[in-house]
């Protein structure tokens, strides 16, 4: 809750309009004006002409949002520099730019079929609604950082499930009890995933409500392309859909870490030794995230929780994996690989737990022979 309130405060401050004399309008006035003036607002020629004729027609915030999009689409041009032809060909210029970026990309080496498929998607967007959706934009911007924080906290919370505390000295007693092996292990594994699931979704809901409340919940049905940061995205989805995808990807990142933490604590048994390993693993992921090297991101970091919760690259990177002759988008493949790795970690953990039993079966078989 503290982080949610802090993020809300930081983000609301960004909506305070200041000049040299001080505050011109506070966040509430600014957002209310944007809500009022963005009804039935679409990014098109009429909108540009309206803004050229009257600077304050759509209010300060909508003006800023539209100017940002103009800047990215028309290569730094301002509204005043746009000709009528420029205005009319807004989406065509967007498509050309996407095509140019795909052709220039030296890392993915797209085939003609892949480019054609991407361009089909680019052509699907026929209109961009610019309705009020500031809360969703702020949410998309911040939920990755919050997801990582949750990931770390929940991983720390589940470490004691299998991490032996040398001070308690109860492990041997528990293990020798009737249900101390099979049922206890199963209960601990299930409770790890259950606790992680409940904590994750409950925390995300608290975060969602606290962050969105001052901004208002409207705008979930607006296209994500109304945000300049993902203007060139080929995912034609709404902010609500983007939130659901991010929520799922963040959850899978958490499942990955829970599985890894279970495996490490089962193998090492020692609580703090496991915690130190997990902490250094996190630091390694954070350092990797800071140093952009395509090959490392492509073959490793994309499946790791830190980079997975940096959601933007899924929507704007157009990264592809060629698996068995099929081109799979990075988002889909990251989900699949992350799940497979989680299953492998869990399987290793279970095998280590069942080690004694497996050994007994082998020994019995040997003596039978």
């Amino acid at each position: 809750m503290f982080v949610s309130v802090y993020h809300t405060k930081i983000n609301l401050d960004r909506y305070i309009v200041r000049n040299t004399q001080g505050i011109v309008s506070d966040w509430n006035e600014n957002l209310s004006e944007a809500k009022e003036k963005s009804r039935a607002l679409y990014l098109d020629k009429d909108c540009f002409i309206g803004m050229q004729n009257n600077e304050n027609r759509y209010g300060y915030l909508n003006n800023e949002n539209i100017s940002d999009i103009i800047s990215v689409n028309y290569e730094g041009k301002t509204l005043e520099e746009l000709s009528e032809a420029d205005m009319e060909s807004l989406l065509q210029i967007r498509s050309d730019k996407i095509n140019e970026n795909l052709m220039m990309d030296s890392k993915n080496n797209y085939t003609d079929t892949e480019i054609a498929r991407f361009m089909d998607k680019a052509g699907d967007l026929s209109v961009i609604s610019m309705g009020y959706s500031e809360g969703w934009k702020v949410l998309a911007e911040n939920m990755g950082g919050f997801g990582i924080l949750l990931n770390i906290v929940i991983t720390v919370l589940i470490l004691p499930l299998f991490g032996r505390d040398s001070g308690v000295q109860m492990e041997e007693l528990v293990r020798s009890a009737r249900f101390g092996q099979k049922r206890l292990n199963l209960s601990r594994i299930l409770s790890a995933y259950l606790a992680a699931t409940v904590l994750y979704f409950a925390s995300m809901m608290i975060y969602f409500n606290i962050l969105m409340m001052p901004f208002g919940f409207e705008g979930g049905n607006q296209p994500i392309q109304s945000n300049a940061r993902v203007f060139f995205s080929l995912y034609h989805i709404t902010y609500l859909q983007q939130f659901m995808i991010n929520l799922l990807v963040g959850y899978l990142g958490l499942i990955f870490m829970v599985s890894a933490a279970l495996m490490v604590t089962i193998i090492l048994k020692n609580l703090l030794a496991s915690a130190s390993l997990i902490a250094i693993f996190y630091i390694m992921l954070i350092v990797i995230d800071q140093l952009y090297v395509y090959e490392i991101n492509h073959w490793f970091a994309n499946f790791m929780p830190v980079h997975m919760t940096e959601f933007w690259h899924f929507y704007t990177g157009n990264e592809l994996y060629r698996i068995w002759g099929r081109s799979i988008p990075c988002l889909n493949w990251s989900i699949i690989v992350s799940l497979i790795l989680s299953a492998i970690f869990l399987a290793i953990g279970i095998l280590v737990l069942l080690r004694d039993k497996i050994c007994r079966i082998y020994l019995k078989k040997g003596s039978d022979v």
């Binding site: 720390v156 040398s166 001070g167 090492l268 020692n270 609580l271 703090l272 030794a273 496991s274 915690a275 130190s276 390993l277 902490a279 250094i280 693993f281 630091i283 390694m284 350092v287 140093l291 090297v293 090959e295 490392i296």
Partner: protein, 400 residues
Amino acid sequence: MKRQIYMEYRKMWNKITGVAVLAMCAVVILHLFIYLNLQYRAIDSEGQIVEGLASYRALREASEEIKGTMDGTYIRELVDKYNNSFDKSYLKEHRGFLGTGGMTKFMVPNYFINYAYYGAYMSNGNDKIGLEYDFLDSEDEFYKTYKETVKEHLAEVNPYTEEQMNILGKKVDKLNIPYQTGYYQGLANLRAWFVLDYGLIFVVLAFALSGIFAKDYTGGITELTLSSKYGRKNNFNVRWIAGNMFIISIYFIFIGVQLIVNGIIATLDGWNLPAQMFWFECLHNITVGEGILILFGGGLLGAIVIGNIVMLTSIKMKNRKVAVILSAIVVFWILKSKNVYGFSKMFNPANFISDSLLTGYCFVGNMALPYFVIVIIFTVFYVALLWIGIKMSYRKYYID
């Protein structure tokens, strides 16, 4: 006492420390091998592009051609050599080559010359490697321009007064020109990865030292320790000394791994080149190797401060797990808040490895104190404060 220190020191090398140190070493080695292999390529002496780890050896071999003292004759030959080189034509056609991890033998001397032109705006890209400058016509003119640029750079990035600039100006005039140039890529990698992975030491210390004064840990404080004749006084000193010895050991393991891996990949050649080839605005007449040793020294002092913070947390919390969590939060906060501007950044132990150690000055009256001296003073102050805090807490340490 020596025996006691040794026994306390040995207690710290437990499973937790072992796992943390192994993980730290594994991350450092993987980072170096993977990134240096994937990111870099070089133009060798035959004009061929060599990729991966082999590129460093190729660069070193190619750099033999440009080794020498940068006097008037050298500069004239360098300009001719560069203008007629494959490297120049290749860089012209491949914009961004250097910016994406590519290397040429001309990097070291050409960047130094370009610094004289760009000053504070110098960066390592292939748009700032050309040699079309009038001041290269004579050695005197070049070094005069270089010295003026250093003065402008210092005045631009630091709020020095005119009087202070005069004092620094005298230091600039005393620089030992002309400079030697050559190959130092292995040392450049060493410095870069040392800075990048330095935070790992803090994590190891947070886990390994959190139990030193904990009552819930077998190697921590017990009733017996506190009730024996010399328990409180002697045992405190012994643990504190052993804790600091442990910090030094962890630090040397980290440095050792960095030196070995970087030495294997790109060699530590260039140790004797003047520091100005690397830190252009450095006013000390020292070598690159000595400069790196100063950074390592700053790193050690930063680790000692962090280690003592963990020890204070351990004694205040008495509970190992709580101490680990609190220490991790403190370490995270220290690392996160290191990116501030101005002199205040030197208060942060995470910045004790900053290049400012070699290029920055703090004025006390008319005396210019180099930043590395300030770092030593800060460390003594921090450690004394933390030592008093730990000692006072130990006097009142009770196991309820």
